[in-house]
C-alpha cells in the first residue's frame, strides 16, 4: 500500500516536473526542472525493476543532457539570442492532452503478452555475462550495440563538421575561466577521484550486476567534463591521434570480434567458451570510446581561441 502511494506521488512529481520544464517562463528554470525531472524518471525506472535503465537515465538523461542544455543557454545568450517567455496555446494543449488520453487508453487496453524473460534466462549460461541486460546488449542483440557505437562516432563527426574553418585543429569547446578559490574549482578536484572509482566499478560490475559500458562510460565522461570545467584538465586538439584512437577503439574491436565470429559461422556470434573474456574486452574498449565521445559531444565543435 505504501508502495502504491509512493508510486502515485512519484508519477505526479514526474509529470509536474516535466510540465514545469516544458512551460517554464525562463529557459534556465526550464532546464533545471528538466534535470530534476530526469532524476524522477530514474527513480521510476528503479520502481519498474530496471536498474540498468535507471543508471543510464540518471547519468545520461539527467546528467549529461542537463550539462549540454545549460551549456547551450550560455552560448545562446553570448550569441545575443534572447528567450522570450512562451505564450500558451490552448487549442494545441487540448489536442495534445487528447493524444495523451488516447495513448493512456491504448496502454490500458494492451493484451497480456509474455516477454522474452524465459528465452533470455535459457540462453544466459552460454552468453558469457551474468547480467541479463549485458547479455542482451553485448551478445544476443550485439548488432544494435555495435551500430549504436558507430552512430555515436558519426554524430561526433557531424558536430565537428560545424567548426569554422579557422577553428579546425583547435581544442573543442569554449575556454573555461574559473575562480581558483570558487566552488567549481573545489568540486572539480574533490569529485573526480570518487567519480573515477564509480565509473570503473560500474564497468567492472556490469557483466554480473547492473552497470556496464554505457553507464560507466557516461560517469567517466562526466568526471572528465567536471575536471575540464574546473580548469584542471584541457581538452585535447581534435586532430590528436591518441584521441582519435580512443574514439574508435570500441567500435573497431567490436567490429573485429564480429568479423571473427563471421569467419566461425555467424557475424557477431560469440563462442560460449570465450564469450566471457570477449565481452569484458569489448566493454573496456567501448567504455573508453563512449566516455571520450560523449565528453566531446557535450563540449561541442572546436573553437578558435582569441
Amino acid at each position: 500500500m505504501t508502495g502504491l502511494v509512493f508510486d502515485l506521488l512519484l508519477c505526479a512529481l514526474l509529470l509536474a516536473a516535466g510540465l514545469a520544464a516544458v512551460v517554464a517562463r525562463g529557459l534556465f528554470a526550464g532546464v533545471v526542472f528538466f534535470i530534476a525531472y530526469g532524476v524522477f524518471v530514474a527513480l521510476g525506472w528503479l520502481r519498474l525493476d530496471a536498474i540498468d535503465v535507471a543508471l543510464a537515465e540518471a547519468a545520461i538523461g539527467a546528467g549529461l543532457t542537463g550539462v549540454l542544455l545549460l551549456g547551450a543557454i550560455g552560448q545562446l545568450s553570448r550569441a545575443g539570442a534572447e528567450a522570450p517567455a512562451p505564450r500558451p496555446n490552448i487549442p494545441l494543449a487540448l489536442a495534445c492532452g487528447g493524444l495523451s488520453l488516447l495513448l493512456g487508453a491504448a496502454f490500458l487496453a494492451l493484451p497480456d503478452a509474455p516477454g522474452l524473460q524465459a528465452e533470455v534466462a535459457a540462453a544466459l549460461p552460454i552468453s558469457g555475462a551474468e547480467n541479463p541486460v549485458t547479455a542482451v546488449l553485448l551478445n544476443f542483440r550485439a548488432i544494435d550495440t555495435l551500430l549504436e557505437s558507430i552512430v555515436l562516432t558519426a554524430v561526433l563527426v557531424g558536430v565537428w563538421a560545424l567548426a569554422r574553418d579557422d577553428a579546425w585543429g583547435c581544442r573543442p569547446g569554449l575556454p573555461q575561466r574559473v575562480r581558483p578559490d570558487g566552488v567549481l574549482a573545489g568540486f572539480g578536484r574533490l569529485l573526480p577521484p570518487l567519480g573515477l572509482m564509480v565509473g570503473v566499478y560500474l564497468v567492472w560490475a556490469g557483466t554480473k550486476q547492473p552497470g556496464g559500458a554505457f553507464q560507466g562510460g557516461t560517469v567517466l565522461a562526466a568526471v572528465w567534463l567536471l575536471a575540464a570545467m574546473a580548469g584542471a584538465v584541457t581538452a585535447p586538439r581534435v586532430t590528436d591521434l591518441l584521441l582519435r584512437a580512443a574514439l574508435v577503439a570500441g567500435p573497431i574491436l567490436f567490429l573485429a570480434v564480429g568479423i571473427a565470429g563471421a569467419l566461425g559461422g555467424s557475424f557477431l556470434g560469440l563462442a560460449p567458451a570465450v564469450a566471457g573474456p570477449l565481452i569484458l574486452a569489448i566493454e573496456v574498449a567501448l567504455t573508453l570510446s563512449i566516455a571520450s565521445t560523449l565528453a566531446l559531444l557535450v563540449l561541442g565543435p572546436p573553437e578558435a581561441r582569441a
Binding site: 516535466g18 530496471a50 545520461i60 538523461g61 496555446n89 495534445c96 495513448l103 496502454f107 522474452l116 542483440r141
Partner: protein, 106 residues
C-alpha cells in the same frame, strides 16, 4: 496487471502529450529540443511499463537493453541539435527559425 505499473504507463502517455505540446508550441529551438527530450523519455517510460506488466516473470532484459540504446542515441541527437542551433544563433542572432518569428502561425 499490477497497479503501480499502470501508473508509470499512464505517466508515460501524459509525458508524450506534454512533450509534443512543447515541441509544437514553442518557437525557441532550445525549448523545442528540451520538450522533445521530455517526449522521448515518455515513450521510453510507456514502453518500459508495458514490458513490466507481468512481474511474476521478473524484469524483461530485452526492452531494457533497447531503452538503454535509445537513451544514448537520444543524447547523441540532442548534442548534434545543440551544435546546429548554436551555429544558427551565431549567424542569425536569434534561436528560432525565420518562419516562426512572427508569433504563432495562423
Amino acid at each position: 496487471m499490477s497497479g503501480f505499473v499502470t501508473f508509470f504507463g499512464l505517466a508515460g502517455a501524459g509525458l508524450i502529450g506534454l512533450g509534443l505540446y512543447g515541441f509544437l508550441a514553442h518557437a525557441h529551438l532550445l525549448r523545442r529540443l528540451l520538450s522533445f527530450n521530455v517526449m522521448g523519455s515518455g515513450v521510453f517510460l510507456m514502453f518500459g511499463a508495458a514490458a513490466a506488466r507481468s512481474p511474476a516473470l521478473g524484469a524483461d532484459a530485452v526492452p531494457q537493453a533497447l531503452i538503454i540504446t535509445g537513451i544514448v542515441v537520444k543524447l547523441a541527437g540532442t548534442a548534434l541539435a545543440v551544435a546546429l542551433l548554436v551555429q544558427l544563433a551565431r549567424s542569425l542572432g536569434r534561436a528560432a527559425l525565420p518562419e516562426d518569428e512572427e508569433g504563432p502561425r495562423a
